[in-house]
């Protein structure tokens, strides 16, 4: 793949900021001398379409074992989300936001990351978290209201879930700055956010800092068409999210986010660009949130079944499976075996999770600050005394 895919055409007067040095581009054949000084475009990338048809010119060469592995992760993410939905309905965990339907958009880039890369996510990248080394037990603890879910996996740089929409993109840019400053080789940052997040000021500031600093950051917008009840076209008037990169001179591309091959090519190129000093990239992964926003949400209030059904054939898992089968490296038997394996892994994780249902509350006093102040130690003592009295009352 040439690295020209993710770029808008630039014929700009960049770095020549005094307007008198601007070179004008006249539109020939026009009466009015409309002096166009800058032209931009936004591209769209799809390789494997929803009918399983592959654009051979663009098809990446991916080893079979990686293809299968990526598929397995996507299945794992799907099955795990479905299990969590059940657990939530049974009151065994709290509110959570499933990412069903968006697996390609976040699993593929996560799969392409290495140990030195940093992942800075929002809250709808369940699969990516697993791929980057968080365990299912952790996710269960997190959604069961315990900070224990945010433990850092050995040898993996992954930040906890970030719920304040958009804020984490700035952290990613700061981490990118560190990587560049420390001259860390072969390392980049991948940050995820939704279409809704692009409306927040923090997204803007992150894009702008990323552009000015030319940091190794890949900004992936999982454009799943909805921000809770707000449809994409009410979120912003721009035709694409990708074109928002133009505001910051950050290359942007719109990708079929349900196409694992397109996500592979775009993420790989963006990661390579980042690691070779080429700066940030914005990837708009066009996908769809197949489920509710969170388990506390009722999507029938704001969208039709038809819309959801219309997206079902575009499912990234179906598409990947078809591709594997067409490549003769997959079969229904293999699928069955794999699903069974995955389910067993999940069963085990749930069992482990439930064996460990609650944790010490006083821990909070240990981790509010990194060093001790006597006033907080006093508060801890008070807390423990109150908890003891509370327990007595319960007993009594």
């Amino acid at each position: 793949m040439a690295s020209a895919l993710i770029a808008y055409e630039k014929k700009s007067n960049k770095n020549k900021l005094k307007f008198d040095t601007v070179k004008f581009y006249f539109n020939k054949g026009q009466n009015m001398p409309k002096k166009i000084t800058n032209r931009f475009s936004v591209s769209y990338l799809q390789i494997l379409d929803e009918n399983g048809k592959v654009d051979k010119k663009l098809e990446p060469k991916i080893p079979d074992k990686d293809l299968i592995s990526m598929y397995r992760w996507m299945v794992m993410a799907r099955e795990f989300d479905e299990r969590m939905l059940k657990l939530q309905r049974q009151g065994r965990i709290g509110t959570f936001g499933p990412s069903i339907g968006q697996e390609a958009a976040h699993c593929i880039p996560a799969y392409l990351m290495n140990e030195k890369d940093w992942m800075v996510g929002a809250f709808r990248e369940a699969g990516a978290r697993l791929i980057r080394g968080e365990t299912m037990e952790q996710a269960l603890h997190f959604y069961n209201g315990y900070e224990e879910g945010n433990a850092k996996p050995e040898g993996s740089n992954i930040l906890p879930v970030s719920i304040i929409v958009g804020a984490q993109a700035l952290h990613a840019v700061g981490i990118g700055y560190s990587l560049k400053y420390r001259k860390v080789k072969d390392a980049a940052v991948v940050t995820f956010f939704g279409d809704g997040a692009t409306s927040e000021g923090d997204f803007h500031e992150a894009m702008n800092f990323a552009g000015v600093w030319q940091v190794p950051v890949v900004l992936i917008c999982q454009n799943n068409q909805w921000a809770i009840s707000l449809p994409r076209h009410k979120q912003t008037r721009s035709a694409t999210i990708a074109q928002k990169g133009i505001a910051y001179d950050v290359p942007g591309i719109q990708v079929d986010g349900n196409d694992p091959l397109a996500m592979y090519v775009a993420s790989k190129e963006a990661l390579e660009r980042a690691k070779s000093g080429g700066g940030p990239t914005l990837i708009e992964a066009v996908t769809f949130r197949m489920m509710m926003h969170t388990t506390a949400d009722d999507p029938t209030k704001y969208r039709t079944d038809e819309e959801v059904e219309g997206w079902r054939p575009k499912d990234p898992l179906i598409r990947m499976k078809t591709y594997l089968i067409n490549k003769n490296i997959w079969s229904d038997t293999k699928e069955e075996e794999m699903r069974a394996e995955v389910k067993k892994e999940i069963d085990e994780a749930v069992k482990n999770f439930e064996a460990n249902p609650s944790f010490d509350s006083a821990l909070v006093f240990d981790h509010t600050y990194g060093n001790k102040h006597y006033t907080f130690e006093e508060e801890r003592t008070e807390f423990l005394a109150e908890r003891a009295k509370e327990a007595e009352n319960v007993k009594a």
Binding site: I164, K234, S358
Partner: protein, 326 residues
């Protein structure tokens, strides 16, 4: 008279004021088609249309900033922060503009807007959905901060907030949204902002609280009255800023003993200010130190731990006992 829960009562106030005044508009994230994530704005879009019930892009500063513009033209925006945990994004617009426009222009301009925001813990929600940070707003001169505790006062206070000439932060105790129902009069009701309510009179001790804490407080008081044979005065602050100091001072002068119960952490909070006001005006009447029952000064824990930190009925009762016995 209907029996309403707090969500319905707040909705009633919105309906009433929208009907009353076509300058009243409602805006925020998911307030329209979705009718608010707690359904507080139910029925509004259908009745008043997209122009007055506005599903905004996902941007809190955008919501408040544009509301300021609307308010400056004589409209009455009632905007919503989906959760108070996202309201820190609007601090610069509040501190820098909403609260100042009147004084800055010596009265030529004003910003009559309301910011509604569900606050507080107890509903097993994700991070940032459980804080009680009224301190931030109370410390900003030029805005008022109101926290209802029941359906009836929520309705009446919201009506008054919308009619108020200045920015009002209206913090809704989400834990109480559907916790109980109360008779709410059919006729529109108002409650003066900046005024506390003496919920019940008593002579031995004063308990002061607001918002979601009123429920455990009331239960703790009921038990305490019986068990300790005490006559307890209960004050519901309702407006945390400006404080109804007089209501507090009068009560302290009578009882000499005070317990303050708040959901927020202790450090630099409304309870601190109440203690300070008592010190300023009624120190010599105190027969015991004012007892503060608050959250701890820790980072708000996730939901499985949070109830260990928020004042419980038991803790409140013990504080009453301790203060009576002092």
């Amino acid at each position: 008279m209907s029996k309403l829960n707090m969500v319905q009562a707040i909705n009633l106030a919105l309906q009433e004021k929208m009907k009353d005044d076509d300058g009243v508009v409602v805006l925020g994230e998911d307030v329209g088609v979705d009718e608010g994530v707690f359904r507080v704005t139910a029925g509004l879009l259908e009745k008043y249309g997209e122009e007055r019930v506005i599903d905004t892009p996902l941007a809190e500063s955008g919501i408040i900033g544009t509301s300021i513009g609307m308010a400056l033209t004589g409209m009455k925006p009632v905007c919503e922060m989906q959760f108070s945990g996202f309201s820190y994004l609007i601090m610069h617009q509040l501190e820098g503009h909403a609260s100042r426009m009147r004084q800055r222009s010596l009265g030529a301009w004003s910003v009559p807007l309301v910011v509604r925001m569900p606050y507080g813990g107890g509903i097993r929600a994700l991070e940032h959905h459980s804080e009680s940070r009224e301190t931030f707003y109370a410390h900003i001169p030029g805005i008022k901060t109101v926290i209802p505790s029941s359906p009836r006062n929520a309705r009446a206070l919201l009506v008054s907030a919308i009619e108020d000439p200045d920015p009002v932060i209206f913090m809704e105790p989400k834990r109480s949204y559907r916790a109980f129902r109360e008779d709410v009069p059919d006729k529109i009701e108002r409650m003066e902002l900046g005024k506390a309510q003496i919920v019940q009179e008593g002579n031995d001790i004063t308990v002061i609280s607001w918002g979601a804490m009123m429920r455990p407080v009331i239960k703790a008081i009921e038990e305490s009255q019986k068990e300790f044979n005490a006559s307890i005065e209960l004050i519901d602050i309702l407006t945390v800023s400006p404080l109804d100091e007089k209501a507090i001072i009068d009560s302290v002068m009578k009882t000499g003993r005070v317990v303050i119960v708040q959901e927020a952490p202790k450090n630099v909070s409304i309870s601190s200010e109440i203690v300070a006001r008592i010190n300023d005006k009624a120190l010599l009447y105190l027969e015991a130190p004012v007892k503060r029952v608050t959250n701890y000064d820790v980072v708000t824990p996730y939901f499985s731990r949070e109830l260990d930190f928020i004042p419980s009925q038991g803790r409140i009762k013990r504080a009453i006992k301790e203060t009576l016995d002092f």
